[in-house]
């Protein structure tokens, strides 16, 4: 009881100094919480982008890079994709697909996946049996390209036709709910795939794409010249880049091509769930050992490919924010230590008297440590408040961030100047939501208390060396 009375009186006597120390610690703690909250927000935003790409349950994706372009093997830079060439001549347009050429008005509709090479569907089973793998599923990421060529194309007065394209995801219906791009979607209307749909011409359409193209449940959408009945609309989380249309994997394999070849019995993306987060690196290595030619992508490796303001903010929060927090904390700790030592110096007579009264050194040390810890706790409480305020300010004023993901299209363009492999960039607007976690608060409170204890420890060190006779002789 006396301990707390004495402690409270001393804090009241040195209220200005106590407030100054507590505020210093509070600013440091508040900054740590704010930076941590901002970093968590950026991490969540990144996770949102990645989750939208590969689904909520996916830890690893396996793809195979497209083969290097060989001009001698054919396949031109036609708008309808690999394997199809459109040539304009005096007699109109000539369209050649796999060396079969036709003339006049016609509609082209191809479903191809040229961004990556196909893998045997059996590979999914091989990966699924690896140690540390909880589940694996195959999918086909394809693009449907449609082009309507008028009969007079190339003639005076004709105009170039506008190609239409949308992304199509061949979905393994058995695993769609827990693995792959459809796993993170929520049903907006209609129904989801069922096992009975595996070989049917049915499609689930992304809600945003459906709105943009005026599609609803019950209508049909044409994929590779085949009409698919829309059975459901799904919504993906904000900040993701979902496929436009989902169709059963078997139908995608039957209709799709890759560099002009059929995709029967093949997939071009394998989605893998590791048994635990710590297994991801080992599973990544095992897959690379099993399939040396594939690209194994983990969330961390994909995150490094994200550019744009999201990436810049992540770097800012990670580097500048952390260092700023550390510097402010060091400054706050230093101020607390110096002020506590100065206060102890001013109280030498007091402590000498207490020693003369028979107080043990450690009781006096405990008193000083108690005072310092109380200031640390005050700083922690104020710091948590500042941290929440900082996070709220970030949420209020921070603009949406942009994540830019650049991926190869799989196409090859040949010009007189040379050939190139074009890439496509997806820009995704991601809201930054700084959130304060309980762990961050706990860590910050511990930091503030550590700051108080550090200050108290330096002051106590001074006291422990104080001989009562010396302390009293300084009084005069």
């Amino acid at each position: 009881m006396f301990f707390f009375t004495y402690l409270a009186r001393e804090l009241r006597r040195r209220m200005r100094q106590a407030i100054f120390i507590a505020l210093g610690l509070a600013v440091g703690v508040g900054l740590v919480i704010t930076v941590t909250a901002a970093s968590a927000g950026v991490r969540n935003a990144q996770a949102g982008v990645l989750k939208g790409l590969y689904g909520v349950g996916t830890d690893i994706t396996v793809t195979k890079p497209p083969p290097a372009f060989n001009p001698a093997s054919g396949g031109g830079p036609g708008p309808a994709g690999s394997g199809t060439r459109v040539t304009l001549g005096p007699g109109g347009a000539e369209v050649c697909t796999n060396n079969k050429c036709t003339h006049g008005a016609q509609s082209l509709d191809t479903l191809s996946g040229d961004a990556s090479s196909p893998l045997s569907a059996a590979t999914v089973g091989s990966i699924g049996r690896l140690h540390g793998v909880a589940a694996a599923a195959g999918g086909l990421s394809l693009t449907d390209r449609q082009l309507t060529i008028p009969a007079n194309l190339g003639q005076p007065g004709s105009s170039l036709p506008q190609p239409v394209s949308f992304t199509v995801q061949g979905t393994d219906i058995a695993t769609a709910a827990r693995l792959g791009p459809l796993s993170d979607a929520t049903l907006a209307s209609g129904r989801e795939f069922t096992a009975a749909d595996a070989d049917k011409d049915v499609a689930v359409v992304d809600k945003n794409y459906a709105i943009a193209t005026n599609l609803t449940v019950g209508k049909t959408i044409t994929v590779a010249k085949t009409k698919f009945t829309i059975i459901g609309l799904v919504a993906q989380p904000q900040g993701s880049t979902p496929p436009d249309v989902y169709i059963p994997l078997a139908r995608a394999q039957a209709l799709g091509t890759s560099t002009g070849n059929a995709l029967t019995g093949q997939v071009n993306t394998i989605y893998v769930t590791a048994a635990s987060a710590s297994d991801i690196p080992a599973v990544q290595q095992e897959i690379a050992r099993l399939l040396p030619t594939v690209t194994v992508t983990t969330p961390s490796s994909l995150a490094s490919q994200i550019t744009g303001s999201l990436s810049s903010t992540a770097k800012l929060a990670g580097d500048l924010g952390t260092w700023l927090s550390i510097l402010v904390l060091i400054a706050a700790f230093a101020v607390a230590v110096l002020l506590t030592m100065a206060a102890v110096s001013r109280r030498v007579r007091e402590f000498g008297t207490l020693k003369a009264l028979g107080w043990r050194g450690r009781r006096i040390v405990a008193q000083v440590m108690g005072e310092s810890m109380a200031m640390g706790l005050l700083g922690a409480a104020a710091g948590v408040g500042l941290g929440f305020a900082g996070a709220a300010i970030i949420n209020a004023i921070a603009p949406d961030l942009t994540a830019i993901l650049t991926q190869p299209t799989g196409e090859h363009i040949v010009t007189p100047a040379g050939s190139s492999n074009p890439t496509v960039s997806h820009a995704v607007a991601v809201p930054l939501s700084a959130s304060v976690s309980a762990a961050a608060i706990a860590a910050a409170v511990l930091l503030a208390i550590a700051g108080g204890l550090l200050a108290g420890a330096f002051g106590s060190w001074r006291i422990s060396r104080l001989r009562p006779a010396d302390a009293l002789s300084k009084v005069g």
């Binding site: 009881m1 006396f2 009375t5 004495y6 009186r9 001393e10 009241r12 006597r13 007579r349 007091e350 000498g352 008297t353 207490l354 020693k355 003369a356 009264l357 028979g358 107080w359 043990r360 050194g361 009781r363 001989r467 009562p468 006779a469 009293l472 002789s473 009084v475 005069g476």
Partner: protein, 226 residues
């Protein structure tokens, strides 16, 4: 009569760089139980150092210093602390009250190391303040008390643990004459009532003359008029 203190060949040296200063030199002294002894002398001749040695605030460099048969020169820090807590009451020239604590809390501070239970502490603090005539000032802070009242609080603090010995270092040095007489009168009264052994250091002949025996410190040695 039994001696509370027995000093034989006590020396105290201070080391400043390469110099050694002998503050107390080869001192022999017996202080009987219940005696009031006054020590006077010029500044820098070892009065306060002798008082520090008697008060277990410092250890002699050489010699034997017995308090109730225990050689303070050989006790460890923890034991010296215990001796100060139980057997010795201090009164200082500048009162040395903790400025943030009330009069009662300052007195209570002397009982904290003894582990006295709170109810008992309150009873003894009230009695101690009553004995120095400050029962009605228990809740006042030192800054709200006059110099004489502050010294009364300091006396109450020194006596609340019922020590064997009361050591006073210039207890009236910061007081006017009237207050000085009042404080010395109070100390004399308490000394008589409680059978204390009182060692008082002072320059003031009006204070010193009330002691039973007066020693003079000169060049670190104490001598008594016969």
């Amino acid at each position: 009569m039994r001696s509370v203190y027995e000093l034989s060949g006590v020396c105290k040296d201070f080391f400043t760089g390469s110099r050694t200063v002998r503050a107390v030199s080869d001192t022999d002294l017996l202080i009987p139980d219940g005696e009031w002894i006054a020590v006077r002398g010029r500044t820098g001749h070892g009065k306060s150092t002798l008082l520090n040695l008697l008060g277990a605030l410092d250890r002699p460099t050489a010699g034997r210093l017995l308090l109730d048969g225990r050689d303070l020169a050989r006790l460890g820090d923890a034991q010296l602390t215990r001796v100060r807590a139980t057997d010795i009451g201090f009164i200082f020239q500048t009162f040395n009250l903790v400025p943030t604590l009330s009069a009662a809390e300052n007195v209570e501070a002397a009982l904290v190391p003894l582990g006295v239970r709170q109810a008992e502490r309150r009873r003894r603090v009230a009695a101690a303040l009553d004995s120095v005539g400050l029962a009605d000032r228990a809740r006042h802070l030192p800054a709200e008390l006059s110099g004489g009242q502050q010294q009364r609080v300091a006396i109450a603090r020194a006596l609340v643990k019922e020590p064997k010995v009361l050591l006073a270092d210039e207890p009236t040095g910061n007081l006017d004459e009237d207050t000085r007489d009042e404080i010395v009168g109070l100390m004399e009264k308490l000394w008589r009532e409680r059978g204390l052994t009182l060692v008082l250091v002072s320059h003031d002949s009006a204070v010193v003359r009330r002691a039973q025996r007066v020693g003079v410190m000169s060049r670190g040695r104490i001598s008594f008029k016969t």
